[in-house]
């Protein structure tokens, strides 16, 4: 599906927050490397998809009613076999079905850990579309080490974003760890900038975490609001 079709479908379904499989497809269509996922509608399907995906896997709740998956107990990481997938599925659904009968799950391969980054876009009432970049995961809230640029970004803007955060040393190889591929990170930033510039219906993008590795980068969680 094209970006236009994905957004059109969500809007027609009365949703302004894309499901994660939709967000993933949208990012893929924009040429951004994203951890793949598939939707499962029941426990057996979750197991089958997990086996096809290959263990370990991640299960995440997929519901129009649940905006913050982790807070709702809707994210289970590092599931290593059929048994843990079944348990995780039941655990997620027990809660989710209380508020949404149509809740399903997405099944993802467990991305190998890298440096956790945040790439985002927000629509500011004064500046319009603004890109955000910083250290991701829980560190975002703790250190607020984030930098902003107005869309559209030039390549030098993306490079400056990466260099201007306080934690940029983490990307350059810290305490003997290899440096990450910052070109892959700037590539994601620039592709998001181009994506939202061409598609003003996108109001907010929150890629967190994006894992950065020595050989590349991968979006592990994506939230897109239209």
């Amino acid at each position: 599906m094209t970006v236009d079709e994905i957004i059109g479908f969500a809007v027609a379904s009365g949703r302004n927050v894309l499901f994660e499989d939709e967000a993933g497809a949208l990012l893929k269509a924009a040429g951004i490397p994203v951890n793949p996922c598939r939707v499962a509608s029941d426990e057996d399907e979750a197991v089958r998809v997990a086996k096809e995906t290959g263990f370990p896997v991640v299960l995440k709740v997929r519901s129009q009613a649940i905006a913050h998956k982790t807070d709702a107990g809707g994210v289970r990481l590092g599931l290593t076999d059929e048994g843990t997938v079944r348990l995780a599925y039941r655990g997620i659904m027990e809660k989710a079905r209380l508020i949404d009968q149509d809740a399903r799950v997405t099944v993802h391969p467990m991305a190998s850990p890298g440096v956790e980054l945040l790439v985002g876009m927000t629509t500011d009432p004064q500046f319009g579309q603004v890109m955000a970049f910083g250290l991701g995961g829980i560190l975002v809230e703790l250190f607020k080490d984030i930098t902003f640029r107005q869309v559209p970004l030039l390549e030098k803007d993306a490079v400056e974003m990466i260099n201007s955060i306080k934690g940029s040393a983490v990307l350059k190889g810290y305490r003997g760890r290899p440096p990450v591929n910052t070109t892959a990170v700037t590539d994601i930033i620039l592709k998001i900038s181009r994506l939202v510039e061409g598609e003003p219906r996108i109001k907010e993008v929150d890629l967190n975490p994006v894992f950065a590795y020595p050989e590349g980068a991968l979006v592990a969680d994506a939230r897109i609001i239209v």
Partner: protein
């Protein structure tokens, strides 16, 4: 917001005939002070005070109404309350006035009712394509055209720095600090509520204004932030723009809303996006003045390598703190520079740390020695800009003429930091600044001034940054 062309604003800044509407004979009323200010500032055009009941104020004949004035006026300064202001603007439009300055408050900043009134003000003006400075403003000064239309009568030195300020109080702070720093002001625009003439319009005008070389901006917030930052970025590619953004704490919106009716927005968004567009930002009015002063006086450096000459270590430590954050580097000196320094100092084992910053300690007190060291550092092609620190002393004289000579010889930017009070440095400051060498008495100001020069040096001259 109206897009008044810079050419359209020329007659607002350089009027030949000015009406002062709502003039009064009471010296503590704005209507008196604005006329007083225009007269005191030495306006050479014609002034037409307007009031239905007065005959004469400050020796000027008062006209009953705008229609009674025998010739068309270019600008009307309106010193009426907010309600009468709206009506006066309508009259001005009909009479073919080219621009108005509205000092009255009581508009958007006061809430919904005031907002409605401001919408009426703007639509009255826009019917006639009339640019409004304000409302809710201190006013405007064009020092280049001797037109002082604020209600604070003053005469300030002429210069190349123009200021756009959302606040009258901070505007006056900046103007007075500039006077204290010994630099002149070209134009001052109090944009106030930015009703139909915003920051971007003022920047557009000042970009095309040949008498303005440097632009300083104080901003609390604007509803047109996107256009402001893009315009600032575009103008900054032609002449330096320095921005001081206030309202950095969460909750500042509450106050800025009731001040000029604009929300402060996120401080970090402004800062990051201004940097994205290549605009130099500062954190205080005194930094704004320091940066504008250096940019107005000095040539731009070819790069970001800063040499520091001192005879006391502390100021160089403070400067390096600021410079490093601003992307400046403190390069190593060439071997031949070190040899030259040794020769000048003349001791076999000088108690001097022979590197950059060059701390000549007790050997740096003598004027010829200090001048020689300054020349040696300026001659070093690792050094793009020199900061020279020297302490005021009862017995030694400040090495002002030596520093001017060194600057003339090498044509590289030089900023002098004398450690002393203004009284002690005053004569030397005048001497130095007449020769184009800025003098500061605080290392923090010297550092921000250097950072501003380096910012625009690497940007406008394309020298680029180097990691040393």
């Amino acid at each position: 917001m109206a897009r008044t062309s810079p050419a359209g604003l020329h007659s607002v800044f350089y009027p030949e005939r000015v009406a002062v509407i709502g003039v009064t004979g009471t010296p503590d009323r704005v209507g008196y002070n604005i006329l007083e200010s225009i007269l005191y500032g030495g306006f050479t055009g014609k002034v037409y005070p307007v009031h239905p009941r007065h005959e004469q104020v400050l020796g000027c004949k008062v006209y009953k109404s705008l229609e009674d004035i025998p010739e068309p006026v270019d600008v009307a300064v309106i010193c009426l309350n907010q309600y009468a202001t709206v009506e006066a603007v309508e009259n001005c439009g009909r009479a073919g006035v080219k621009g108005v300055i509205c000092s009255a408050g009581g508009f958007r900043e006061t809430g919904e009712e005031g907002h409605d009134l401001e919408r009426r003000l703007v639509s009255a003006a826009e019917k006639y394509g009339l640019p409004i400075i304000g409302p809710n403003t201190l006013g405007m000064i064009n020092n280049d055209g001797n037109f002082y239309s604020t209600f604070y009568p003053m005469k300030i030195p002429k210069g190349k720095v123009s200021i756009v300020s959302q606040s009258g109080g901070i505007g006056l702070t900046i103007i007075n600090m500039a006077v204290d720093e010994g630099i002149g002001i070209n134009k001052f625009i109090g944009v106030g509520n930015c009703s139909n003439l915003g920051f971007a319009d003022c920047l557009d005008y000042l970009e095309s204004d040949d008498s303005t070389a440097v632009i300083g901006v104080f901003i609390e917030g604007t509803s047109d932030a996107g256009r402001f930052v893009r315009t600032a970025g575009r103008v900054a590619r032609k002449k330096p723009v320095v921005v001081y953004k206030a309202g950095r704490v969460t909750g500042a919106d509450n106050y800025t809303q009731t001040h000029t009716g604009s929300s402060a927005g996120s401080f970090q968004l402004y800062r990051d996006i201004l940097h994205q567009h290549g605009v130099f930002t500062v954190n205080s009015a005194s930094e704004l003045v320091a940066a504008c002063k250096a940019l107005a006086l000095q040539p731009l450096p070819e790069g970001n390598r800063v040499g520091i000459l001192t005879h006391t270590a502390g100021p160089s430590v403070v400067m390096i703190d600021h410079l490093a954050q601003a992307g400046c580097v403190i390069p190593a000196l060439h071997d031949q520079t070190i040899s030259r320094v040794k020769q000048i100092i003349g001791a076999d084992n000088p108690p001097v740390v022979l590197k950059n910053p060059l701390d000549a300690a007790g050997l740096g007190f003598s004027r010829p020695t200090y001048g020689g060291l300054a020349e040696a550092m300026l001659a070093d092609d690792n050094v793009d800009i020199l900061l020279a620190v020297y302490c005021l002393h009862k017995t030694w004289e400040l090495p002002a003429s030596e520093l001017i000579e060194a600057h003339k010889k090498y044509k590289k930017p030089l900023i002098v930091n004398f450690i002393g009070n203004w009284l002690g440095c005053r004569q030397d400051r005048e001497f130095l600044q007449k020769a184009g060498v800025p003098l500061f008495t605080a290392p923090e100001k010297t550092a921000v001034a250097a950072a501003a020069l380096v910012h625009y040096g690497t940007k406008l001259k394309g020298g680029g940054n180097r990691d040393c």
